[in-house]
């Protein structure tokens, strides 16, 4: 087996990588909102943002300015500390989860750049051997953001929203975990790089052909964990006004938003790496390009579903989770186990 010796990972490299992830993913998340609006507009026969910049491209900028300059209102009866911290939890956990996701290939900063020259920047900020577990754990920890936000704001809609958050995220955590347990059994590792290498043999070797049930379960649970239609119950305005975000304004609200989009990207990356062949080269297409296509597809899928379907009711969500998805996930794991033993 060929062993490539990588340069030593220094703390400087990790910091640079972390900054890059923050900058890139925030930008992509912002651009994601633009894409979402444009894609939805296209599907709904309207134009979407058109007025700020060419084809409304600068709309993100305008939104950013608006979010940053809006008054930050903290309700009088709210638990102020928790109210102010909660959005940070959502945003932080979303980005911490991304630290274990390979975002770009590793590279070394050229020598001629002062101070940073020669620093090796790894492909992921934290190369953990339990990558999958860490990412899921971090995304699960993100549940505290909406939960605390809803309970701290002294608003009944917030309480309803956070109650919905608690049941939805906790329940679907189980399905997400069980659904990727079967692929983990096949690969025998929790490292995303191992997953990638497992599927190196072209389209035929993609995990989705071996584990189609797991893919579907993972996507459904992923929609629920990122609060996307048809499971966008936490802040559906027709029912619970804005749910946990009712009393938030300005950038604090924006942090929930960024966190949600970062989670969408994480789920898309996970789906691409675990089930759709990762960043292996595909024919003449380079690996980095292929993975971007795959991530974009899963991201698009979320928008597509939003345009196509209405959403479910909380009790139907629970019914789906505990009476349908979880039994299927368990059966899938058991069958996978038998097949592996046989």
């Amino acid at each position: 087996m060929e062993v490539t010796v990588l340069p030593e990972v220094t703390w400087l490299g990790v910091v640079i990588k972390a900054v890059i992830i923050l900058a890139i993913i925030s930008a992509i998340a912002g651009f994601g909102t633009y894409l979402e609006r444009k894609v939805l507009a296209f599907m709904q026969r309207r134009l979407g943002p058109m007025h700020v910049g060419p084809y409304g491209l600068l709309q993100i900028l305008a939104d950013g300015i608006k979010l940053f300059t809006k008054e930050d209102i903290v309700p009088q009866n709210a638990n102020k500390l928790i109210f102010q911290v909660a959005p940070a939890i959502t945003a932080a956990t979303a980005f911490i989860a991304l630290s274990a996701v390979p975002v770009f290939p590793d590279f070394t900063i050229p020598e001629f750049i002062p101070l940073l020259g020669g620093t090796f920047v790894p492909s992921m900020a934290a190369d953990l051997n339990i990558g999958v577990l860490f990412i899921l754990g971090m995304m699960a920890a993100g549940l505290y953001g909406p939960l605390l936000a809803g309970m701290a704001q002294a608003n009944k809609w917030g309480i309803l929203g956070s109650a919905r958050t608690a049941i939805q995220f906790l329940s679907y955590e189980v399905v997400t975990g069980l659904s990727i347990l079967a692929p983990i059994m096949l690969v025998g590792s929790l490292s995303l790089i191992e997953f990638n290498d497992y599927q190196a043999g072209g389209i035929g070797s993609w995990m989705m052909w071996q584990q189609p049930v797991a893919l579907i379960l993972f996507l459904i649970a992923g929609f629920a964990e990122t609060n996307r239609t048809p499971f966008d119950l936490l802040e559906h305005e027709a029912e619970v006004v804005s749910g946990y975000a009712t009393e938030y304004s300005g950038m604090r609200w924006g942090m929930f938003f960024i966190g949600e989009y970062a989670n969408m990207i994480t789920i898309s990356v996970l789906a691409a790496v675990i089930f759709a062949g990762g960043y292996n080269d595909l024919g003449f297409l380079a690996g980095w390009f292929v993975i971007i296509l795959k991530i974009a597809f899963f991201f698009f899928l979320m928008l597509w579903v939003r345009a196509a379907w209405p959403h479910v009711r909380p009790d139907q969500l629970m019914w789906l989770c505990w009476k349908v998805l979880m039994p299927i996930a368990v059966i899938n794991v058991v069958i996978t186990g038998f097949v592996m033993m046989a």
């Binding site: 939805l40 599907m43 709904q44 026969r45 309207r46 009944k156 309480i159 309803l160 239609t229 048809p230 966008d232 559906h236 305005e237 027709a238 029912e239 619970v240 006004v241 939003r306 345009a307 196509a308 379907w309 209405p310 959403h311 479910v312 009711r313 909380p314 009790d315 139907q316």
Partner: protein, 562 residues
């Protein structure tokens, strides 16, 4: 022996008085009301209590027996006949309530008490419904001065209604940890300004109480101060989603009081515009209802053609939402050149949008699971609640005034009366979907066979003469002068005129004293009675269901609060 003879036979003191246009009012003794109601409901089988209203005789030109009179309008089980019962109300001793016989009576009697101060003995909760709780006096009494402004600031907590309701369900807000949640008045899904106080156990509603009146602007009082033609702009604001139907409903009632009918072309124009308005109304209801359950794309598929329809109305009438196109005895002008192709274009777009929207949800499991078996209203209940229109038809009762008591040549058009089976939210939504297609069918037939000729009547003591005549002839000049300065005069009498509006039976109970200004106008607004039933039918369902139920009932605050 007809129904009125049966009543007069049973109650020897009952007198029959002539109303206008062949209608008759059976005046009974106030003490006989209970027995008369039993007879009317059980023996004569009048299933719908359409309206209750009062008349304050203080300003009448002739002397009356008592100051306050009540009017009850019933509709028979074959829906073809109405029966108007009248009685002289004694303000001190009050009148017996009909709440035990018709569930509709609850809010209708509250409204009469609110507006006229007539008490109803035995009413479970006789309090104001349209006016604010702190409001003093009864505004529709003739001695109430309209210029007296009253500032009302307190909010009612509705616990006076909620607590007995909870007790009767063996709940206690404290003991059972119920959350009392205000759905509205400003809630994204309250479709106007409507407040429902819900007691929640988790997300399940164990009891609900509604408060309305946030949009009350005294339509009926305004009518008593304006000539007939000047009321038409006010009717636009009743059901603002289908303003033209309201225009026509009022104009048609007054025309029937005058005993005139429009030339055929005018009638056809009215039919086309009414059906177009019905389509718009249903589109709004469906789009908003589907948006409430997250069906964003459906919203756009349905709202884009609605916008095109508004463009057409804007070209025709000069206004998008509040058209004020009708006049008593006709309408302001004829269709413009080339309207046929514009109309057909809109119909095609509406058809395409509706079909596509339907395709997206018809076989969608989420859609079906969200709507089916949610807040079902049985036919029996629906009639007792006073439901009419699509909401009643969803419960399986084929009552559509257009086919049962046809007016405006509706019997010559071929269309189906759409009915549901169980009356749940799903049926209410699907009935509206199908009615859009039926309305398109009617418009195509009417547009294909529309005759040429006049659109308005020629009697210039009612309808303004053309401008050439005003400028060139003395008669025309005088007609114009009389109509503008005085207004048209309607013979003294009472009349209940109704037609099938987008939301149900829209009735106008008009009392004329012979003058150019109506003595009294009472709107029988379908949304008002539908809303009265709303807090009852959402019980036991979840908040998310209640939102959809409100959307499917299509409550329009403008006509509900008047």
């Amino acid at each position: 022996m007809n129904d009125i003879e049966i009543i007069t036979g049973k109650f020897p003191t009952a007198k029959v008085t002539e109303a206008l246009s062949g209608q008759e009012i059976v005046m009974i003794e106030a003490s006989d009301l209970h027995d008369a109601a039993v007879c009317i409901r059980d023996e004569l089988d009048y299933v719908l209590l359409l309206d209750i209203t009062a008349i304050d005789n203080l300003a009448k030109s002739h002397k009356c027996e008592s100051r306050y009179e009540l009017r009850y309008v019933f509709r028979s089980s074959d829906f073809e006949r109405i029966m108007i019962i009248g009685l002289n109300a004694n303000i001190e001793s009050g009148v017996d309530t009909l709440c035990d016989y018709y569930a509709t009576a609850d809010w209708l009697e509250r409204e009469v008490w609110d507006q006229y101060g007539v008490t109803f003995v035995g009413h479970p909760n006789l309090k104001r419904v349209l006016n604010h709780m702190e409001f003093a006096g009864h505004p529709l009494r003739k001695d109430y001065t309209i210029t007296d402004a009253q500032f009302c600031t307190r909010t009612q907590d509705l616990l006076d209604e909620m607590e007995p309701l909870l007790t009767s369900r063996e709940y206690s807000a404290d003991r059972d940890n119920l959350m009392l949640l205000n759905l509205g008045p400003s809630h994204p899904a309250s479709h106007g300004t409507i407040r429902t106080l819900a007691a929640l156990e988790g997300e399940r509603i164990v009891a609900g109480v509604s408060e309305i009146g946030y949009l009350h602007r005294g339509f009926e009082k305004s009518c008593e101060n304006h000539p007939y033609n000047q009321i038409i702009p006010y009717t636009d604001r009743l059901n603002y989603c289908s303003a033209l139907i309201n225009n026509v409903a009022f104009a048609k009632s007054v025309e029937e009081m005058l005993g005139i009918t429009l030339p055929d072309r005018g009638i056809f124009i009215r039919v086309i515009l009414m059906e177009l308005s019905r389509i718009i109304d249903h589109l709004v209801c469906l789009a908003a209802g589907l948006l409430d359950m997250g069906g964003q794309t459906n919203y756009w598929y349905l709202f884009n053609p609605r916008n095109d329809a508004y463009d057409f109305l804007s070209r025709l009438t000069g206004a998008r939402l509040t058209n004020s196109y009708m006049r008593i005895g006709g309408m302001s002008h004829d269709f413009y050149e080339g309207w046929e192709s514009d109309l057909e274009d809109i119909l095609k777009k509406v058809e395409a949008g509706t079909i596509q929207s339907l395709q997206m949800v018809e076989k969608n499991r989420i859609f079906q699971d969200r709507l089916q078996d949610i807040s079902p209203v049985s036919a029996q209940q629906a009639l007792s609640f006073g439901f009419t229109g699509p909401n009643l038809r969803a419960s399986g009762v084929a009552y559509d005034m257009r086919s049962i008591s046809p007016y405006y040549y509706y019997d010559t058009f071929e269309f189906d009366v759409v009915t549901g089976s169980v009356g749940d939210t799903y049926d209410r939504i699907m009935v509206r979907f199908e009615e859009i297609f039926q309305s398109i069918k009617i418009i195509r037939q009417a547009a294909g066979t529309i005759p040429t000729g006049d659109i308005s009547i020629k009697d210039h003591s009612i309808f303004l003469p053309p401008k050439e005549r005003v400028y060139n002839s003395i008669e025309g000049m005088m007609n114009q002068f009389k109509l503008v300065f005085e207004g048209l005069r309607v013979p003294a009498g009472e009349y209940y005129g109704a037609l099938e509006a987008a939301n149900g039976e829209l009735g106008f109970y008009i009392v004329s004293d012979g003058g150019p200004i109506p003595y009294k106008v009472k709107v029988r607004a379908p949304s008002f009675v539908h809303m009265a039933a709303y807090p009852k039918i959402i019980e036991g369902y979840q908040v998310a269901d209640a939102i959809l139920t409100l959307g499917s009932l299509n409550i329009i605050a403008g006509e509900m609060d008047r």
